[in-house]
Symmetry: C2
Subunit: 203 residues, 2 copies
């Protein structure tokens, strides 16, 4: 399955700013990207990084397009094709394979907050719209075009990294390089009152 | 599949206190319980509410045990049996059926924060331990007993309700009575800066 992985190398993951510096956030975003690339390949996917600017020293095909996300994806979309977000730090080959192998004109994996974290498009009459509640929009677009939409229920693919607390889930459930990167940068699990969060300290 | 649903009618969901009164939290916890009961039955499960005190006017078999959670569950556990948490507000019959039908001496659905949201136990040599990082403990207990552990990747079952922001996911993804209850109590989706949260107001 040819798979677009949209990526923004500049100023990624600003909401992690209370924990990581700008340089660290760029390094961590790239670590997550490389984990996603590996998981896509291990699921027999053929990844293309759709990036707003060229990423140096990346072992992957790159397609540079600095337009807004939906425009750039629609311009590159050539069904059958998948679109997988670059910050799915818990993605595994098994979870991606479920999405790639699901039957439907369009397959979506709903994300937290109404996002569309993984999309498989097999029909030319579909275009993406990632703005706002993209899951609701993608359901509506599919219905309007009379296409069959299949939804896949996966925690590993529903989870993306936005907030500092999300790093706790990466440390708990991740099995790529991202949890190693966090530990090497002194980000540790911190459990208080039943809540999982993170602290940064050289323990 | 016989299914224990642990429940605490008194002082539930204290972390929702900034949004809902004590009385409202009890009503909302019960609404989620009834959604879970319905989903378990629709997945051909046979539910028993394992409650710390009798729940009035509940159309379900109740087993009262006021000991701490793990003790009460272990005392009632008679494999083959499932244990499903009462606050899985996004649970559907389909997601539960995946867990019930999975092959393994022990089947777990990992939850956010290292929890064990659904458990299917088919072997007498297993006992639960819900304290702390229960997922890690359940993996260790299974390995020590030489049992086969199967893990199910499901967002709908990985998600439980703890924090006010979690109510946003219930409003977005829920299809039981819980989202209706929230809307009837003026809890609405609120999206700022890409984050989904909730506000309470009679709009």
């Amino acid at each position: 399955m040819r798979t677009l992985i949209p990526y923004t190398p500049r100023h990624p993951k600003s909401r992690l700013g209370e924990l990581l510096s700008g340089r660290e956030r760029r390094a961590f975003a790239r670590t997550m990207l490389e984990d996603v690339l590996r998981a896509v390949r291990d699921a027999d996917g053929d990844p293309v990084v759709l990036t707003t600017e060229r990423v140096p020293d990346l072992e992957a095909t790159q397609h540079v397009d600095d337009r807004p996300l939906s425009e750039a994806v629609n311009a590159a979309l050539a069904p059958p094709m998948a679109v997988v977000m670059a910050d799915l730090a818990l993605a595994t080959p098994e979870s991606l394979r479920r999405a790639f192998e699901a039957v439907g004109d369009v397959v979506v994996v709903p994300g937290r907050g109404g996002g569309t974290n993984v999309l498989v498009v097999r029909h030319d009459d579909f275009a993406v719209d990632y703005h706002g509640n993209s899951l609701g929009d993608h359901r509506a677009i599919t219905a309007a075009a009379g296409l069959h939409l299949e939804e896949i229920d996966s925690f590993r693919l529903a989870f993306d990294v936005d907030e500092p607390d999300d790093l706790g889930e990466v440390l708990l459930h991740g099995d790529g390089s991202a949890p190693d990167w966090l530990r090497a940068h002194d980000v540790h699990l911190h459990v208080t009152d039943g809540r999982v969060g993170v602290t940064r300290s050289s323990e």
